[in-house]
């Protein structure tokens, strides 16, 4: 990397740090972009030692962390209150369970953003909005990622230029309309009581309904957090160029910086709710056609279980609850839960998520009551 280029970059950084509130004259912009572009100029002479230093630092830190883990206590100490201990066990289990799916989602999102040709989506997707959303809701068949992995993937699709309503349709439908979920639901319930059919059709209809509702919004980009909306605009106006592997690694750092803090917070909330809320009260509501639907939706919301296996989980309650409430659990839980909301909040505004949650909740209630009536 050349001397002047480094200076530019240094100057940019100083400006960013030194005077946060200061308005920068428009004139500063080109230099910023010049600074940015230096990123893509593959440095030759100074690069190798620098890369080696970085790699060594990374591996050294990994060793330090591993040492910390090995020298830390291995058995739980007495005297820690059980609730506190279980809070950590539960939160860590959500984190350890979700982390690989988030990594997979981030990597798929990078693949979509950086390695899929710009025109692929415009060529493959139908032009009519309703048909487009219908196709988006079936995308999960090709990409069977769990719901937490879908969030970074949806961010990649949004950055690629897909509309908010299309991304939302994908997010809501993909956890249900994917082969793994359909197979496990079939294994758990077979064709009994319309549970499988109710889940598939209900999921498809609700996802497309909400996609359609969102498409009516005159300015869909307002449903995104300002931060992410600006990133989308940026990506669109100034597409990044340069070495793909390099951009992939940077995108990994940026995506994980957005998703992982949200995942940690979401896991902690999920763990805290488990410790705080007793499930016995939920189980006693099982026989009532209306309350059982609401009770299982509440359970789905707090338990934040992966849609791939939630059918097995709820199967164990099978005889306690009515089929409609199980369908409501299977549809609502796949679309909205406490961990998902924390992850989605990285991308959508709170008011957009409130609307999604309320609409999905109402739809699932209607679906559950309908199945209870028919079954």
């Amino acid at each position: 990397m050349s001397g002047p280029a480094w200076n530019t970059e240094g100057a940019t950084e100083t400006a960013a740090e030194g005077a946060p509130g200061e308005r920068h004259p428009r004139g500063s912009r080109p230099s910023v972009h010049r600074g940015h572009r230096t990123l893509d100029v593959v440095p030759t002479r100074r690069a190798a030692p620098r890369l080696a230093t970085g790699l060594t630092a990374g591996i050294a830190l990994a060793v330090v962390l591993l040492t910390l883990r090995v020298v830390s206590p291995q058995t739980p100490s007495e005297g820690v209150p059980e609730q506190v201990r279980d809070f950590f066990t539960l939160s860590i289990s959500v984190l350890v369970e979700s982390l690989p799916f988030v990594f997979l989602g981030v990597i798929l999102s990078i693949a979509v953003r950086i390695f899929v040709p710009e025109t692929l989506f415009t060529r493959l997707l139908p032009t009519h909005p309703v048909a487009r959303r219908a196709v988006m809701s079936l995308l999960g068949v090709l990409l069977p990622v769990c719901e937490c992995g879908n969030v970074p993937l949806a961010r990649g699709l949004l950055l690629k230029g897909l509309s908010v309503s299309e991304a939302m349709t994908f997010l809501l439908a993909a956890p249900i309309l994917n082969p793994v979920t359909i197979i496990t639901t079939y294994q758990a319930f077979g064709w009994d009581n319309g549970i499988l059919v109710g889940r598939i059709l209900g999921g498809f209809v609700i996802a497309n309904l909400i996609g359609w509702l969102f498409s009516l919004h005159p300015h869909q980009e307002q449903l995104l957090t300002p931060r992410f909306e600006a990133a989308c605009r940026m990506d669109h106006d100034h597409p990044e160029t340069g070495a793909r592997m390099r951009r992939s690694v940077l995108a990994f750092a940026e995506e994980t910086s957005t998703m992982l803090p949200a995942l940690v917070v979401g896991s902690a909330i999920a763990g805290a709710i488990q410790v705080g809320v007793s499930r016995e009260t939920l189980a006693t509501l099982g026989g009532n056609p209306v309350l059982s639907v609401l009770a299982l939706m509440a359970l789905a919301f707090i338990i934040a279980i992966c849609s791939n296996v939630d059918a097995f989980f709820i199967l164990s309650f099978g005889s306690t609850f009515l089929p409609g409430s199980i369908v409501a659990f299977l549809v609502f839980g796949a679309m909205v839960d406490v961990k998902m909301l924390a992850l989605l909040r990285t991308t959508f505004t709170a008011s957009a998520l409130l609307r999604v949650t309320a609409t999905v909740g109402l739809c699932c209630l209607v679906l559950g009551l309908g199945v209870n009536l028919l079954a």
């Binding site: 990123l39 440095p43 338990i303 992966c306």
Partner: protein
């Protein structure tokens, strides 16, 4: 640099902490404390894949330009005001405040805030990120790995869930090899109403943790296990009642025991459990490598 910590390094460090924790749990055979065995391979493979990106990030992030949003703060700030969503400011503003509490959003509102407000918010974002990173490191790498305790049994109706697969599984169980039955199998049979006659000639050797029967805590405890579908969050406690007056003086709650003895009508009058083991032997034991059943 502060911004770059929030927008790039936080993710790299959290990834590294998560990866080290996962790989260590997998290497020491303790992933089972948290997740179902079907995820072991996937979890390990993804941890190793992410490790490649994470270590590469240590080489590439320091040599890269400012994060895209830092750049945006400088470059696009003015444009932002002219965009159609300028009228949405107050609305966005509120959400932004709320989000900062979570410590993972450091977007600066363009020219809307006073400089000190912006700087404060930026500092809050960095403090939040650092805090999340430090707490995650503590939870994953310093705290000892642990199973769930009786506190969670109390929260989740014991044996509520074994009622499920009803007749089919029950029929499968009856006539099976009783010596291989787990706590979950016996709990299912009892829950599904197999009667005293059925249990009259049966005995079992069961390993589980000790948790009191809330209806007769002096005389009856459960030898219990958690059934896990996906991860520990969905763990459902199952257990078989053991009639052993004054058990609490010999076995602490949550300690692991192996109980041997015949089934029979529960001598306890207060307990709601009709069937209980009258133990011939109760031996303290080590927590098994896979403490949950599936």
């Amino acid at each position: 640099m502060r911004d770059r910590f929030v927008s790039r390094w936080a993710g790299v460090l959290l990834s590294l902490v998560g990866i080290v924790a996962t790989v260590w749990l997998a290497a020491t055979g303790q992933l089972g404390l948290y997740i179902h065995p079907r995820y072991y391979v996937f979890t390990t493979v993804m941890a190793v894949t992410a490790a490649v990106f994470t270590v590469a990030a240590f080489a590439i992030v320091p040599a890269s330009g400012p994060a895209r949003d830092e750049e945006r703060e400088l470059g696009d700030e003015h444009e932002h005001d002219h965009h159609h969503h300028g009228h949405d400011h107050d609305h966005d503003h509120d959400e932004h405040d709320e989000h900062d509490e979570h410590g993972h959003d450091h977007h600066e509102r363009d020219g809307h805030d006073t400089p000190s407000g912006q700087a404060g918010r930026r500092t809050a974002a960095v403090v939040g990120s650092v805090l999340v990173t430090v707490l995650t490191t503590g939870a994953l790498l310093v705290l000892p790995p642990a199973t769930l305790t009786t506190s969670t049994v109390d929260q989740r109706d014991l044996n509520a869930s074994v009622a499920g697969p009803a007749a089919v599984e029950s029929a499968d169980l009856i006539g099976g090899d009783y010596s291989t039955f787990t706590v979950k199998d016996w709990a299912s049979l009892i829950r599904q109403g197999a009667d005293e006659d059925f249990f009259a000639d049966k005995s079992a050797t069961l390993t589980g943790f000790v948790t009191p029967d809330p209806d007769d805590p002096d005389n009856v405890f459960y030898v219990a296990r958690f059934v896990v579908t996906c991860c520990a969050v969905d763990a459902q406690p199952v257990g078989v009642a053991v009639y052993s007056p004054d058990w609490a003086s010999r076995f602490p709650v949550d300690s692991w025991v192996t109980v041997t003895g015949p089934f029979g009508a529960n001598p306890s009058l207060a307990s709601l459990q009709t069937i209980a083991i009258t133990p011939e032997a109760i031996n303290p034991t080590e927590q098994p490598n896979e403490p949950y059943v599936y």
